[in-house]
């Protein structure tokens, strides 16, 4: 694309360095707005999926009627055993979550619902190092690990505190870090045996209803083909997701459910629109300052297509310069915001790719609009 004998677009931009700097600044600011808005929008929902990201599994089995982690719908443990017999499945582990019955008594003798997460603690099911450390203590009856970022409503989170959970005595034997989300103020981890004792006192078939089924795949097998196979083999009361898919599904649920989702989405749209306008401004003013030169080029017999190419090349160069400066600026802004609040705006590869695409689209659209002015350049007006 840049194989012209005379790199006109490059020379146009470089001719006036001060102007170029200003133009890049203009594009940069538009891109920063988008970065910040998209960053806000996408990271806003992150805390709801911390548990999912910590699961040590390739595939996750969920009841078909469980629309989100916050809902209780469970599926039969039998499904998980059926899955274990499918080719390529290395191991299956049930994970249990209870929120409604999990009432935690705080220092004021008030009970507060806390999310209880339970599984076979002898297995590496969740990537939380403290579980390995407190394995022996967790094997004892009525013991829990508490999330040290749980809100203050639960009272003391000190190790060795004894309190009541679901009307039984429990002891805190250690802590881990997860953090509250939109619907949970805190978390505790316990063994599946304790879970059965605490929450399923009267159940005949204890631990039968599974909240999440964790499926580990033999490394020799392809995860997606095993996933297809499982979905085909099992009755359709369960869904099988890869971990990334399930994480995305949970975020999508909150994007629709959270009343603030559309606010950030519209912010991004506004940023994009402003970006197009600014970019158009810059390119238009660039075309105008070289209008005589464009007309001359036309007089030499070059077609409008050539002019379009030049303007689009300028647009692309601007978008790339602007993107990289904005990338750096956003990281600085993100670190300032992180310093003054608890908000972390991640500027990761995923978000950066989205923004790079948006930036290029923005500049190209603006370039096409601006090039139309160059088409009107009339050699006859020149002299």
């Amino acid at each position: 694309m840049f194989s012209n004998k005379v790199p006109l677009s490059w020379l146009n931009l470089m001719h006036n360095k001060r102007k170029l700097l200003l133009s890049i600044l203009g594009v940069t600011f538009a891109v920063v707005i988008m970065f910040v808005e998209v960053g806000f929008y996408l990271t806003f929902f992150d805390k709801n999926t911390v548990l999912i990201t910590k699961l040590n599994s390739d595939l996750i089995m969920v009841s078909k009627s469980k629309l989100s982690l916050i809902f209780t719908q469970r599926f039969s443990r039998t499904r998980l055993y059926q899955a274990a017999s499918v080719d390529g499945v290395y191991a299956v582990h049930p994970l249990y979550i209870e929120r409604a019955l999990s009432m935690w008594k705080n220092d004021n003798n008030q009970t507060r619902s806390i999310r209880a997460i339970a599984f076979d603690i002898t297995q590496k099911i969740i990537n939380i190092p403290q579980i390995e450390k407190y394995k022996a203590q967790l094997a004892l009856p009525n013991t829990v690990l508490i999330d040290n970022k749980s809100r203050s409503c639960y009272g003391s989170k000190e190790v060795n505190t004894t309190t009541e959970l679901a009307n039984s005595h429990v002891q805190i034997v250690g802590d881990f870090t997860m953090g509250p989300d939109f619907s949970n103020h805190g978390n505790i981890i316990m063994s599946d045996k304790n879970f059965a004792i605490l929450f399923q006192k009267n159940a005949i078939d204890k631990l039968e209803g599974v909240s999440l089924g964790l499926i580990q795949i033999d490394p020799d097998y392809d995860i997606e083909s095993v996933q297809k196979n499982l979905q085909k083999t099992l009755t359709d009361d369960v869904n099988i997701y890869t971990r990334d898919e399930y994480e995305q599904k949970e975020k999508d649920f909150w994007k629709v459910t959270s009343p603030v989702g559309p606010i950030f989405l519209m912010g991004t749209v506004a940023g994009f629109l402003v970006g197009i306008i600014i970019c158009y401004q810059i390119l238009y003013s660039n075309v105008m300052s070289y209008l005589k030169q464009f007309a001359t080029v036309k007089a030499f017999g070059f077609a409008n297509r050539y002019l379009l190419k030049v303007v689009l090349q300028e647009a692309l160069l601007l978008s790339i310069f602007g993107f990289f400066v904005a990338f750096g600026a956003t990281r600085v802004i993100a670190s300032i915001i992180a310093e003054h609040s608890s908000i972390n705006i991640t500027v990761d590869l995923y978000i950066s790719t989205i923004i790079l695409i948006l930036t290029v689209v923005m500049c190209v659209v603006a370039g096409i609009m601006a090039a139309r002015r160059a088409f009107l350049a009339d050699p006859a007006d020149l002299f």
Binding site: V32, V36, I70, C153, S183, P259, V260, I263, Y280, I337
Partner: protein
């Protein structure tokens, strides 16, 4: 009024002026939008409370904000009912519960509100529409449904059914409220139905709504309550609640912080873009300005023209930006189900910001004009 030269400069190259105006208009629009969203998040925090009749509210001492309010023992309300000045002390219950759309089976969380209802209904809500239909929902498994709930909850017409936490409920009436940023929908049930849905004892109260006799002073009675009551509750007058709720949404919640910093970012960006656009406009005519200087026009005279030109741009752009913002508010209100509208206060605030930006930008370009040397022109 305007100097003819300023007008001529703007009109001379219509398409270039137009593109500058559109650029500035969009910047003004995005400032309007960010401010609107930010102030809506703060003002919406009182949306549900504004529908409730109370002078003093009793809350759990763990109370965070309306969406995370926790409960306290009902006993506390009995303890304060004989304090002089207290007219009534009514328990109010809220919970977020899964609501199943009867048409497609999709489940979404909804804000459920409940209070004791007798044959006369209840005086808890200020809306007449709610008061009149409250006696209807004494029956088991019946509810009133908020018209402002998002469409994904399903049909709203009285007579249709929906499921709350696995129980089938019949919609008997509607009201208009909106769950603001707490929930995408709301519904009202009787305390008896509430107890049955959640297996939750009515002894755990979310809010205690206290109404005072006309002669009583809220601050005095609230202070008396604080002395009597245990540490497990929070006693707030209406004004105190409003301050607390707003400051939570503005400074503690991530939504408020995100949108607040959005306003700052957009404002800074706005200044830079505006300065650049205006500077380009002025610089386009720099040779003419230098020529005028050579003719003997004073710098003051030229500065006047530049300022007039800048402000003409800014004012036209403000009007267009204002229109764009109103359209954008409408679109967001439709998508978010939270009405965002233009307020006089915001219109003035953005106007002042625009004038400030215009001035900053003019000063930069002014310097160039004042330094323009006729000798350099040709």
């Amino acid at each position: 009024m305007l100097h003819p030269l300023a007008v001529m400069n703007i009109v001379h190259n219509k398409s270039r002026s137009l593109s500058s105006i559109v650029g500035i208009s969009f910047v003004i629009m995005i400032i309007f939008y960010q401010m609107g969203a930010y102030s809506k998040v703060i003002s919406a925090s009182m949306q549900v409370y504004n529908e409730l009749e109370f002078d003093i509210i009793v809350l759990s001492n763990d109370y965070f904000h309306m969406g995370q309010s926790f409960t306290f023992p009902r006993q506390r309300l009995y303890q304060i009912s004989d304090i002089s000045g207290v007219e009534t002390a009514v328990p109010f219950y809220i919970a977020l519960s899964p609501w199943r759309n009867s048409l497609n089976g999709i489940i979404r969380p909804i804000l459920v509100m409940a209070m004791p209802i007798n044959n006369q209904g209840s005086q808890v809500f200020s809306s007449n529409e709610i008061r009149e239909s409250l006696p209807l929902i004494i029956q088991p498994n019946t509810l009133l449904f908020d018209r402002r709930s998002r469409k994904f909850y399903g049909p709203q017409t009285p007579g249709t059914t929906a499921e709350i936490a696995g129980n089938e409920f019949k919609i008997l009436g509607n009201y208009t409220m909106g769950g603001a940023f707490i929930s995408t929908g709301t519904t009202i049930v009787s305390d008896q139905n509430f107890q049955r849905i959640f297996f939750r004892s009515l002894d755990n109260v979310s809010f205690g709504l206290i109404r005072l006799k006309n002669s009583a002073h809220a601050d005095v009675v609230a202070e008396k309550m604080r002395q009597i009551l245990e540490e497990d509750v929070l006693v707030l007058t209406r004004t105190e609640l409003e301050q607390r709720e707003k400051s939570y949404w503005a400074t503690t919640s991530s939504v408020g912080l995100l949108l607040g910093s959005g306003v700052i970012v957009v404002f800074l960006v706005g200044i830079v873009i505006l300065s650049q656009v205006l500077a380009t406009q002025v610089m386009n005519h720099i040779t003419e300005y230098a020529t005028l200087k050579a003719f003997g026009y004073s710098s003051l005279h030229l500065a006047n023209i530049v300022l007039q030109q800048a402000f003409a741009f800014v004012i036209i752009s403000y009007v267009i930006g204002f229109g764009l913002a109103v359209g954008f508010y409408k679109l967001t209100s439709m998508l978010a189900g939270v009405p965002i509208g233009m307020t006089t206060y915001r219109a003035i605030a953005v106007a002042l910001m625009t004038i400030f930006m215009g001035t900053t930008a003019s000063i930069t370009s002014l310097r160039k004009v004042l330094l323009a040397d006729p000798a350099d022109v040709f």
